[in-house]
Every structure is written in C-alpha cells, then in structure tokens.
C-alpha cells in the first residue's frame, strides 16, 4: 500500500521518501524479496536522477533497470553502462542481451563484433 502511495508523488524526493516507508514495512513483515527489490528501486531512482543531471539528455526516471541500461548504451556511454552493471549486479546474460539489442538498434556493427 505504501508503495502505491509513494508512486502518487511525481516529485522524486517525495517518492523516494515514500518508498522508504514501504521498505520499513516490508522489513517488519520479513518480506525478504520485496525488501531487496525496494532497496534496489530506491538506488535505481537515485541513479536515474544522477543520470538525468549529468548526461543532460534522455529521460530515465520511471524506467526499469534494463531499460535504463539500454538507454545509457544508446547514448554511447559504454563505460558507465559497465559500471552500472557491476553496481547493480546485473547477470551477464541479460547484460549481453541488452547490449546486443542496443548496438544493433544503433547499427554499430563494429562494436557488436568487438564482443
């Protein structure tokens, strides 16, 4: 319930605060997976804020983890993508799929071959 409430806030700071409330509730009820997911989501939102501020292009807020990565790759910042991957412990398999999709979309065949 708290999550629904949190999502009613367009303002990102308020949304994160809302999610933290939800996080505590999940912790109290010992919902391990949901706790973890919520923690990750908070980190993701923070990252997305940061991305929007530093990259100055593209919208990130509200995207899923994979979509965020995809967009970073589309903007050509491979190093940062790699960093996000390790930070969020994205499994290799999924990372490659995202990478292949994005590079194919951009028609960067050299890069694709370089894998």
């Amino acid at each position: 319930m708290a999550v629904v409430e949190a999502y009613q806030f367009k303002d990102i700071e308020k949304r994160i605060r809302g999610l933290k409330v939800a996080l505590n509730l999940y912790k109290d009820t010992k919902e391990q997976l949901a706790t973890k997911a919520t923690e990750t989501q908070i980190r993701l939102l923070l990252l997305q804020c940061d991305l929007e501020a530093t990259l100055k292009e593209g919208e990130f807020l509200g995207c899923s983890m994979s979509d965020t990565l995809y967009r970073v790759i589309m903007l050509g910042d491979l190093r940062r993508a790699q960093k996000i991957k390790s930070e969020f412990k994205v499994p290799d398999k999924r990372y490659w799929w995202i990478m292949i999709k994005a590079l194919a979309q951009k028609l960067e065949w050299d890069q694709l071959e370089a894998f």
Partner: protein, 574 residues
C-alpha cells in the same frame, strides 16, 4: 442442443421479458445509458429493434459526460462505485446547463447494493433517481453454453475474498431450478463451489416453505468446479480453432473484432470503414463455424479445403442441367451455399492469419516449453529466462512461470528469487504487486518437496502420446496431447468415490463434496425417455478448449448431455 435437452431459449425469453419490464417502467420515449461492459451481453438477450419498440430513442455508453436531448434516462449498469460519480455528475451538469433536471432511473445488474446507494446519497442525488434491479445472470451464449459475464469473479473470490459474485452464482442456480426443476445430484470441488452449494441449499429451504414447484427435473446432475482447482489448463495455449481465435484475436461475448480485409469486403467498403474494426458474431448459427470451432487447428486446413471443393462442385452443377426440376433444386440450395461461401472466405482468411502466427519459431518454442512442463520433462527455465531477456510480453512470461510453478509444486527458492529479480529489473519495479498477487493466489510459489503433479498426471492420464487430432480419441486432442484436469474431473465424475480419485481430489485445492437435494413428493426423478443432463458450472471462468473437450464427451455418450455454465469466458491472458 438439437437432442431437445433443456430449453435454453426459455432462459433468453425470461431475460427479455424482464428487460421489457425495465424499459416499460419509464413510459414514453427515453435514452438508455449502458454500462460499456454490458452492451455485449445485452446484445445476446435482445435486439436493438426490441429496445426501439419499447421507447428507447437513443443508446449511450456510460462515460463521464452525457449530452442528450432525451428527457428521461434509464441507466443499466453493474453496481460499480465510480459509475455513481458519473451519474451524479450528469445530473449536476444537466441541472446547471439546462436549468432543470431530467427523469433518471437506475437499474442495477444483477442487483442493487447498499454501498452503491450510499454513494448516490453522498453525491446528493439519491432522491433524484428511481432505483431498480435487472436480474440478468446466466446469458445463453450458444445452445449449450451459459455465461454470467462477471469479470472480476476470479480475483474477487480468490484474491480479495469478496464473495458477492458467489451469491450471484447461487442465485443463477436457483433461477435454473425454478425453470427446469430441482437438480437432485450436486457434486463439486473447491471452496467457492462449496460456498455456493451451501447458499443454494439455504435458499432452497426458504423457497420450499413458500411453494414447491412440481416439475420433473430436467437437469439431473450439477458439477461445480472452482477455477482454482485447475489453473494449469488456462495457462496452456489453446489449440482448437476457436481457442486459437481467442488467443490471437480475442473473443468478447461471442464476437470477434476484425479488420475489414479479414472479412473480405471489397475495396469500396473497406475505405468506408477507414481501418476501423468490425464486430462479427462467432457462434453455431454459422454452420461452417459450428463444424470447425472445436476441432484441433491442425485439421482446419484440410477441412476448409474439403468445404471449398464441395461448394465448387455445387456451383459447377449448373453447367449440366437437363431438366427444369434440377434447376429448381439448384436454386433452392443456392442461398445456403452462397452463405457458406461467404463464411468459407472469412474462415480461410482467419485460418491463414492464425497459421502465420503458429508457424513462427516463437510460437513453436512456447508450445514446446508448455508441453515439456506438462509432461514433466526437463525444465524450461532457460527458455523463460531468454523470454525475459528478449523482453517478450510479460503475460507470456508469467503464463509459463505459473505453469512451471504449478507443475513442479513451486519453484525452488533460488530460482524463485532469480525470476523475481529478473522480472522486476526488466519490466519495472511496479510489477512487484503483480508478483505478490500471483504468489498469494498460489500461482507462482517458492517451495520444495514432493511433486504431487506427477501423481495427478498419472492418475488422470493427463498426457496422451497417441492422441489423434483428426478423429479425436480422447479429450486430450484439444491441447494436442494434454487433457485439461477440469474436464477429466467431469469425465470421471461417477468415480469420485474410488480410492484413486479420492487421492487425486485430495491433492487438488479446496474441499470435495457431493449432496443430494430432495425433490418434491409425487414428482418423478427422471422421465424414462430422457437423457441424463449434466450441468457443469465453472466458477471463475472457462476456456473455449475446455468447452470443446466437454462437447467431445457429449458426443461420446449418447445417453448423456452436457450443458456448460460459467461466470466468464477466459483465456490465459485474462
């Protein structure tokens, strides 16, 4: 049903009469405002001309705004709370813009609720409206299929624990008993089914005090089955012709929306439609469809071909007439052949489209994964992971995951966690709720332990290796080798008391029960010439494939007739 089973048309007549009563309660011309979800079901009860005859000048679908010249309005709606707000807004706007109020009547389907009326009070319009009920429950879809078309039944009952729709189910059974006599034997499986039967018995006691109607029972057996008992079946891709039409195009209250080129209109007519879709009714009135609907899709091509040859041969006959009477015969048959020709064109187009989909690698791989899971072969974990990574539709992923969870008694905790995070990080954190709900419903669970599905599979012979799709030899033909659990329960209904079946039923969720209802004294239990009629009621929805399978059972036994009732027609996507 052509064998003169129960007279389902009487049910339609009853609903029609009640509708006329509703319309006539407001004399003179009026506008009818419909719940958008009700217009389909109502179309099965009455034609527009009937509405016109009873003073309906215009028909609107209920939405936030209503501009109308009608001075009297009838709302025909389900008691959803946000509708109350709409109606109140209409009344207030009319008041403001016109300076006067119109005459408003609200008819709730199937019955009024306290809370809806409270909402009207809160909006300050309760005194402005006349309130009534239109007890529309089971609507005849076909000769042997009845549906209530209540959408939320499954979620309401199993997720939210809201039992309102069960009350509707019980009432619809009472209604059937009023028309076709008391049903002596009731058996069922599932907690909702039990709930319904308790309600029916209670209601029956109350009625019995008032009057016992001396009707010889026309329905001898009632089987109530919770959808929750068999969630495996709806997760599988339906492989009958009708089932695939539903999977690919979607069938809504017996109608399919198609683009103009599917129907085969000429260019002029196509342009007029401007890319809009046309609703086409799909039911047994179309002779060709009646023949094809329940067949396995793999046999559709040859069947269409045969039909084409038959029609062609008929047209060719006109070249070699010798007598006038031959010609007369030809002309007599021409009309029906032309109709068949048109329908053939439609179904060829549709079958071609379906074939395009089913030929794709993607479809085949999905099917393969499903069949492997059902047969208990290797797990298709990798395939599901690939689907997530390719970002295939979430519904597809969830269907497969549910199937895996159900057939292996829950996913191993590690696997469960893996998919949990993969789905959230690919499709978005919002789906946390979806997953939580599915977990609560027991559809995707983490668990370890003995796999009871293996036992169920063996005891119920769910997997048939040598199934014949052309000349069905087992109900498993509908899924090309997998027999729906639900229909197996129906097939073996007389054996529920045997020890093996008892063991199977114990493993499926919910209580098992069987009760006898006393029929009034002096009434024969069955008339001798009559077939045994069995009503199968699916609480929480039924798929087209299950209907096909039951129709197959119907053909198998000449002395038994089956009728199917449900709260809603469903597929795995819903």
């Amino acid at each position: 049903l052509e064998h003169g089973v129960i007279n389902i048309a009487a049910l339609r007549e009853y609903h029609k009469r009640e509708l006329v009563k509703v319309l006539d309660s407001v004399p003179g011309g009026k506008g009818l405002v419909l719940d958008p979800k009700l217009s389909g079901p109502l179309g099965l009860v009455a034609e527009v001309s009937l509405l016109k005859e009873h003073g309906v000048e215009k028909i609107y679908l209920l939405s936030e705004r209503l501009d109308t010249e009608c001075k009297k309005l009838i709302y025909l709606i389900r008691p959803k709370l946000y509708f109350m707000k709409f109606i109140a807004d209409h009344i207030h706007t009319h008041q403001r813009n016109l300076g006067y109020r119109k005459e408003y009547s609200i008819y709730f389907v199937p019955r009024r609720t306290m809370i809806a009326e409270r909402h009207l009070e809160k909006e300050g319009v309760y005194d402005e409206v006349t309130i009534g009920e239109y007890p529309l429950d089971l609507i005849p879809f076909d000769n042997d299929v009845l549906s209530m078309e209540i959408e939320e039944c499954y979620t309401d009952c199993f997720l939210k624990g809201d039992r309102t729709s069960l009350f509707y189910v019980a009432r619809s059974i009472m209604n059937l008993q009023k028309m076709f006599g008391i049903i002596p034997n009731i058996q069922g499986k599932g907690s909702c089914a039990k709930n319904v039967v308790d309600m029916v018995q209670r209601m029956q006691r109350e009625v019995a005090v008032q009057s016992a109607s001396p009707i010889t029972p026309e329905i001898q057996n009632l089987i109530l089955i919770d959808r929750q008992v068999d969630m495996v079946t709806p997760m599988c891709t339906q492989l009958t012709y009708e089932g695939l039409i539903d999977e690919i195009f979607g069938i809504q209250t017996g109608c399919v929306e198609l683009t103009a080129d599917m129907i085969g209109l000429d260019d002029d007519e196509q342009r007029k439609l401007d890319g809009k879709k046309i609703k086409k009714p799909f039911n047994s009135n179309d002779g060709l469809y009646a023949e094809l609907r329940d067949a396995n899709f793999s046999t559709i091509g040859p069947a269409l071909n045969r039909k084409a040859l038959e029609i062609d041969a008929y047209y060719k006959k006109r070249h070699n007439f010798e007598t006038v009477s031959q010609m007369r015969d030809f002309m007599k048959g021409l009309g029906s052949y032309q109709e068949a020709h048109q329908s053939l064109r439609l179904h060829t187009n549709i079958a071609e489209h379906i074939l395009k989909v089913t030929k794709k690698m993607r479809f085949r791989k999905q099917l393969e994964a499903e069949q492997n899971l059902l047969a208990g072969n290797e797990l298709s974990t990798e395939y599901i992971e690939e689907c997530i990574n390719k970002r295939e539709s979430l519904v597809k992923v969830l269907r497969l995951l549910i199937l895996q969870s159900l057939t292996t008694n829950g996913l191993k905790p590690k696997l469960f966690e893996f998919f949990f995070t993969e789905i959230l990080s690919t499709y978005g954190y919002e789906y946390l709720f979806t997953l939580k709900h599915l977990e609560k419903l027991g559809l995707i669970q983490s668990g370890e332990g003995k796999n009871s599905f293996n036992f169920i599979r063996k005891s119920l012979h769910l997997i048939k290796e040598d199934v014949n799709e052309v000349e069905p030899n087992d109900i498993a033909y509908v899924y090309s080798g997998y027999a729906p659990i639900s229909v197996r329960l129906v097939e073996f209904m007389d054996k529920w008391k045997t020890s093996q079946m008892e063991e199977v039923l114990r493993l499926l969720p919910g209580p098992t029960f069987s009760v006898r209802q006393d029929i009034p004294e002096g009434v024969l239990e069955t008339s001798e010439s009559q077939n045994r009629v069995i009503l199968v009621y699916f609480i929480g929805g039924v798929t087209f494939t299950e209907i096909a399978a039951i129709r197959y059972l119907n053909q198998l036994d000449a002395n038994t007739d089956y009728i199917i009732a449900t709260t809603k027609m469903i597929s795995g996507d819903t």
